[in-house]
């Protein structure tokens, strides 16, 4: 084939791919950019048509959501600081515990045979099939009786319940990828099974633990249905708080945008922290049998 024609086609292909990537990026990043820009606009700028790209940043939205500065004691401020703390406490402890139990359960399901293992695994999976709305009422009643309504502790329990099944399944997959010879080598050479699990197997699946924690954290952070029903004032999480963000002067769009940014940032921080392990974990158990 003619080399110049090949390169011409090559170039056209490149431009096509580039164009698609730009469109896709715009589709994904566009709303976030819009959100961030809106959160920094004053009430006036926000409603200007066509939208202003260049404007003087105005931090009143952020001051209002945290109830500081000029917005302190303002009736219009929705004040999300407490809910942010609630969300962080509930999501972090819920994720940590779900991953902890999921790792232990996943290991057992990967390595040991017990009566009813298949049924157990299905039951664990089925906890994730349940639409939360179906059981909300009963949770509400139970939590009210047990004094767990509107407590962070109660939400942590819900978060564990919602995520431990997922964590068990994902971790089982990662443990399945670890050759059983690892434990065999350990016990033949005079170590205990527990040593093999803690010091040899766990380090081999740390990417998997990071990936599992990532999934659980996203679910816990975004969890809405349970939190909205089981909390009233004290333990409200951030998504619930934002959805109900209407001040005395109508819908506070600037504040909602600012709160939306506040909602995104912890997720970014979390994934930034685990990013090194994540790439490895996202390849799902491709540890290579060496």
């Amino acid at each position: 084939m003619n080399p110049t024609r090949t390169s011409a086609m090559d170039r056209a292909g490149r431009w096509l791919v580039l164009g698609l990537l730009v469109a896709y990026t715009f589709y994904n990043v566009g709303p976030i950019v819009w959100l961030v820009l809106s959160s920094l606009k004053s009430r006036m700028d926000l409603f200007t048509m066509p939208p202003k790209i260049f404007f003087t940043p105005d931090l009143t939205g952020y001051q209002s959501v945290f109830g500081v500065g000029v917005a302190k004691d303002s009736a219009a401020a929705i004040g999300v600081f407490d809910s942010l703390i609630n969300s962080i406490v509930v999501s972090v402890s819920g994720t940590a515990l779900a991953v902890f139990f999921g790792t232990l359960a996943g290991y057992v399901c990967s390595r040991f045979n017990f009566i009813g293992k298949g049924d157990f695994m299905f039951f664990v999976l089925s906890t994730r099939m349940l639409p939360p709305v179906a059981v909300l009422v009963f949770y509400h009643l139970m939590f009210a009786r047990l004094g767990l309504a509107d407590t962070r502790f109660g939400l942590v329990l819900v978060s564990i319940f919602a995520n431990v099944g997922l964590a068990t399944w994902i971790m089982k997959g990662f443990f399945d990828g670890v050759p059983k010879e690892v434990e065999q080598i350990a016990v033949v050479n005079g170590y205990t099974r527990m040593y093999a699990f803690l010091r040899l197997v766990l380090p081999m699946v740390k990417g998997g633990i990071a990936a599992t924690a990532g999934f659980c954290f996203i679910f816990a952070w975004n969890e809405f249905a349970f939190s909205s029903i089981l909390t009233t004032t004290q333990a409200k999480t951030l998504p619930v708080k934002i959805s109900a963000a209407a001040g005395s002067t109508g819908i506070e769009w600037t504040q909602i945008c600012a709160a939306g940014v506040v909602l995104i940032v912890p997720v970014l921080i979390f994934f930034y922290l685990i990013r090194r392990h994540l790439l490895m974990g996202m390849t799902f158990g491709v540890l290579g049998r060496r």
Binding site: P179, E181, G190
Partner: protein, 369 residues
């Protein structure tokens, strides 16, 4: 040294989800010998080794190690080392720490300067000293198996269990490492149980071999013992390269008649068969069969079905009325695919096996006096 064998397995039984892997397996490995367990995939080799190491729970049977009943003993207390076919090295440790792994365990702990000395010496022996600080995932297959063997060796265990340790390696590397294992064995007088599906590998390394199939040891002894008196058809099929030739035959009026063949063999050459007659399988080591020109006097006719070149010799497959067999012939034989030929079985060369059970029914002993 006590008179006890190093390892004695009595009637081991083990099923995995209803599939029987071991069906009453008996095996004895003597002190200071290399015992090769030869059998096809799925014969029960790995299960036998895992049972010896205590890594699987047996359904029945007893494991004795150096005269002690260890059936219910912890793997950590048995003082055995194991090398697997594939995965051997712990990726969270480097080469040096992989070799030193056992010497830092609660059960086999040594002082650090002693560990360094032993690891260094073992690495020298296996020619991996230059790899000690490497990460295990940078090693080649041959280097990995050397490191694994070094880890087993560094502890000087009672018994080495080697589960196809060389099967994943290419031929040259395999032959080299096999010779080294033999050398190490001479130096250390260690006892090894070596599982393999490779006939050449087994006879090259072993003092004695055990033929395993269907979760049972079919026969064990020196290779000469097995050649002199194969216990059953399975042994014949697994031993030799090419394996034993089998012919459908009948015992009639004092002779063995091969189906579709002219040659009749007098029963006297088989040392008595303990029964009157009927259908049998005649087994002959291919080395004993004579192949000649068609219509040679006193021979039966066959034809060359296939020819494999083996460099300095060739293997031919001969089709006969009673079955086909493979035999190695010199390059000069001039046999080509499609040629007619004749074959003759010397009158005292064959073994008779029961056609149904496969057990040997002839009683001759061809062991050299």
């Amino acid at each position: 040294m006590s008179g006890d064998p190093m390892l004695r397995l009595d009637g081991l039984r083990k099923s995995y989800k209803g599939v029987r892997a071991l069906r009453g397996l008996d095996l004895t490995v003597n002190d200071n010998e290399i015992f090769a367990l030869l059998g096809p995939t799925g014969a029960g080799k790995s299960s036998t080794l895992l049972a010896s190491a205590g890594l699987i729970e047996l359904d029945a049977g007893k494991v004795h190690l150096a005269g002690r009943d260890v059936t219910d003993a912890d793997p950590a207390s048995r003082d055995v080392a194991i090398v697997f076919e594939g995965f051997n090295l712990l990726p969270v440790l480097n080469v040096k720490d992989n070799i030193a792994f056992a010497l830092r365990s609660p059960a086999y702990r040594e002082a650090e300067d002693e560990i360094a000395r032993r690891v260094g010496r073992t690495a020298e022996l296996l020619r991996i000293a230059h790899l000690l600080d490497r990460n295990v995932d940078t090693l080649s297959g041959g280097e990995r198996q050397r490191v694994a063997i070094a880890r087993a060796l560094v502890r000087r265990p009672r018994l080495f269990l080697l589960d196809e340790p060389l099967s994943a390696l290419d031929l040259k590397l395999r032959e080299g490492l096999r010779a080294e294992l033999r050398q190490i064995h001479r130096q250390y007088r260690s006892t090894m149980l070596y599982a393999t599906h490779d006939y050449h590998g087994a006879i090259a390394i072993a003092d004695r071999i055990g033929i395993i199939d269907g979760g049972q040891v079919q026969q064990s002894g020196t290779i000469d013992d097995i050649y002199a008196l194969p216990a059953n058809v399975t042994v014949g099929r697994l031993v030799g390269s090419p394996a034993m030739a089998f012919f459908e035959a009948r015992v009639e009026d004092g002779h063995v008649t091969i189906r579709g063949a002219e040659q009749r063999l007098p029963l006297s050459g088989f040392g008595g068969i303990g029964r009157a007659g009927g259908d049998v399988l005649l087994g002959v080591w291919p080395e004993d069969i004579e192949i000649g020109a068609p219509d040679a006097p006193g021979a039966s006719s066959g034809s060359i079905y296939a020819v494999d070149n083996r460099g300095f010799e060739r293997a031919v497959q001969v089709e006969t009325g009673g079955g086909s067999f493979r035999k190695v012939v010199p390059l000069t034989s001039g046999l080509e695919r499609g040629d007619a030929c004749s074959f003759r079985i010397p009158k005292d060369a064959g073994f008779l096996f029961d056609a149904a059970s496969g057990q040997r029914i002839s009683h001759q002993d061809r062991r050299p006096a």
